[in-house]
């Protein structure tokens, strides 16, 4: 699949000499959903704003559809949409005017049929004549998405799309994002919610302190860095782990009935069949077996901590 976005050696300093982005290199494939994860102030929004032309970056190049975003800004921006993190809208304008205004800005002729379809798709049609100030936070978020989609972009940036929205609306937004992606829109989202990245994305990048510290397929990342814990509940309590099980680093819980063993998914050091055979050989009777896999969130925290420790060491 071809790259729709290529970022090469991008660095950005703010006026106070604070380095916001450091030597960023990233390729985004056409048609994927890409999640950019990172703590507050990591540089997620700065990176998105640099790509969209909202802030100037200092060095490096950014290409969209193989066109430089500075030299070919008209062509690249025509196919790019952005949903900002904040609810930046003109309160006294109607939904209809707001969305049509955005379409015009991006150089497209008015198309009431398309805007009607879009507003219906985002459940905004019955609010089209309402002023923005009359809408709930969730509805405003939808208006921002409608504005970003008003010119039918191929590449959509969602900066914290579900920040401060309730769980129900978050799920609705996820459905919208999935539908857009299905319709061929490449999506890059920044999020604090690992659950969101886990649910939506094909690939994930982790950014910390202006540097990308990891880019990988979401599933591979979970597999590569994820840990799995097998918990075996025994029928009878035991005093101590010994015999064949001592080689597995099992831990015993307070009830003396549940033994747990944590292993890395990628290491291939634990053969579950052999482990269960050893339990049987030692004469234990199994009541229940449960496995737990580390989430993207745990992986993310681990990565950031490791990176921060490295920064402190350096």
């Amino acid at each position: 699949m071809k790259n729709i976005l290529e970022i090469n050696n991008v660095t950005k300093f703010y006026k106070n000499s604070v380095k916001a982005l450091e030597n960023i290199n990233l390729d985004i494939k056409e048609g994927e959903i890409f999640a950019l994860l990172g703590p507050n102030g990591a540089g997620k929004s700065t990176l998105i704003n640099s790509i969209c032309g909202i802030v100037n970056f200092n060095t490096g190049t950014i290409k969209i559809n193989n066109m430089d975003i500075i030299k070919n800004y008209r062509n690249t921006r025509k196919i790019t949409g952005i949903v900002p993190q904040e609810l930046n809208l003109e309160s006294f304008e109607t939904v209809w005017n707001n969305v049509n205004y955005s379409r015009g800005l991006f150089g497209k002729k008015l198309d009431h049929n398309y805007i009607e379809k879009l507003l219906k798709q985002l459940s905004l049609w019955d609010k089209k004549d309402n002023k923005i100030k009359e809408l709930s936070g969730g509805m405003k978020r939808r208006v921002l998405i409608a504005k970003a989609l008003s010119h039918q972009p191929k590449l959509l940036f969602l900066d914290e799309p579900t920040a401060s929205v309730d769980v129900e609306l978050r799920k609705d937004m996820w459905d919208v994002v999935k539908k857009l992606n299905k319709d061929g829109v490449t999506i890059i989202l920044t999020t604090h919610y690992i659950e969101e990245a886990e649910e939506l994305s094909d690939r994930v990048a982790v950014i910390n302190d202006g540097k990308i510290i990891l880019v990988d397929d979401k599933d591979k990342l979970i597999k590569k860095l994820g840990e799995k814990t097998i918990k075996i509940e025994l029928v009878e309590p035991i005093e101590k782990i010994n015999g064949n099980l001592s080689k597995y680093n099992f831990t015993l819980d307070q009830t003396n009935k549940i033994i747990s063993h944590t292993y890395n998914l990628n290491s291939n050091t634990t053969d579950i069949t052999e482990l269960l055979n050893d339990v049987k050989k030692d004469g234990y009777k199994i009541k229940d077996i449960n496995t737990e896999q580390s989430s993207l969130e745990e992986i993310f925290i681990k990565l950031i901590q490791e990176n921060n420790n490295e920064l402190v060491r350096n």
């Binding site: 703010y14 006026k15 704003n49 969209c52 032309g53 909202i54 802030v55 100037n56 800004y73 008209r74 062509n75 921006r77 025509k78 790019t80 952005i82 900002p84 904040e86 930046n88 809208l89 003109e90 309160s91 006294f92 304008e93 005017n97 049509n100 205004y101 955005s102 379409r103 015009g104 800005l105 991006f106 150089g107 497209k108 002729k109 504005k147």
Partner: protein, 253 residues
């Protein structure tokens, strides 16, 4: 050229003018009427004529210029500062628009609003005094050029303002005094020689003088000097905006 983008900004701004039409028109009409009452009736009864023109009629071009200057500046500065304040400017910056197109949309709308207000003031003035326009094309030329020039100036203020109060400082502290001291309500020939020379340093004097010439064929300075002055200010504003915008200063962090 992104004509749809320019049109979108222009219509968006004119829509704001439509929404606040009463406030937009009521204020200049009331102010103009008050000037006629104070200057036209009270003072005008003592100064009957200047350069052979009835005093009430003489002050009409100056009053129009006062309104055009202040309205052009306030319309353009507010229009550009407001999206900066609400952060909706992200969308304009992310759109396939050149800085020239952005300025054209905002300044075009601000100048259009000022022109509408200017025309309303001419009509209002007709209720109080006889207004004669000897050179209507020249009058429109000055009106349009002044509106555009000072809308550009307002745009610069909108780019630099740190708050709403910042939008008011230059119009109140600089523009209004310059207009009052630029011969809006008198001819500089009525001043002592020293103050006549000082008045010649005031660029607004040249605008009012040229504009007044288009009405009554009387002026304090030559028409050519007036035209060159307004063109110089216009070019200065264009160069300043182009440079600032191209660097992204005050807009793109």
């Amino acid at each position: 050229m992104n004509w749809y983008g320019i049109k979108a900004i222009y219509i968006h701004e004119m829509e704001r003018f439509r929404r606040t039409l009463f406030q937009s028109l009521a204020s200049p009409i009331i102010t103009t009427s008050l000037y006629f009452v104070v200057f036209g009736s009270a003072i005008g009864s003592r100064i009957t004529e200047i350069d052979g023109i009835n005093y009430g009629s003489y002050i009409v071009p100056g009053m129009i210029m006062l309104t055009i200057l202040t309205q052009s500046i306030s319309n353009a500065s507010f229009a550009f500062y407001f999206p900066r304040f609400t952060n909706t400017i992200y969308e304009i910056l992310a759109a396939p628009l050149s800085s020239f197109e952005i300025v054209l949309g905002f300044v075009g709308a601000a100048a259009s609003k000022s022109l509408i207000i200017g025309c309303v003031i001419i009509l209002t003035a007709n209720f109080f005094v006889d207004v004669r326009i000897d050179h209507p094309l020249l009058m429109m030329f000055f009106l349009i050029l002044t509106s555009i020039t000072f809308a550009l100036f307002g745009f610069i203020i909108g780019m630099y303002a740190e708050g709403f109060e910042g939008l008011q400082i230059i119009p109140i502290l600089i523009i209004t005094p310059l207009v009052f001291l630029g011969g809006s309500f008198y001819s500089i020939n009525m001043l002592p020689e020293f103050w006549q020379k000082i008045s010649l340093l005031n660029p607004v004097l040249y605008l009012i003088s040229g504009f007044r010439y288009s009405f009554y064929e009387v002026s304090d300075v030559s028409l050519l000097t007036s035209t060159l002055t307004i063109l110089t200010i216009l070019i200065g504003c264009i160069i300043f905006i182009t440079y600032t915008f191209s660097k992204g200063y005050r807009i793109k962090d």
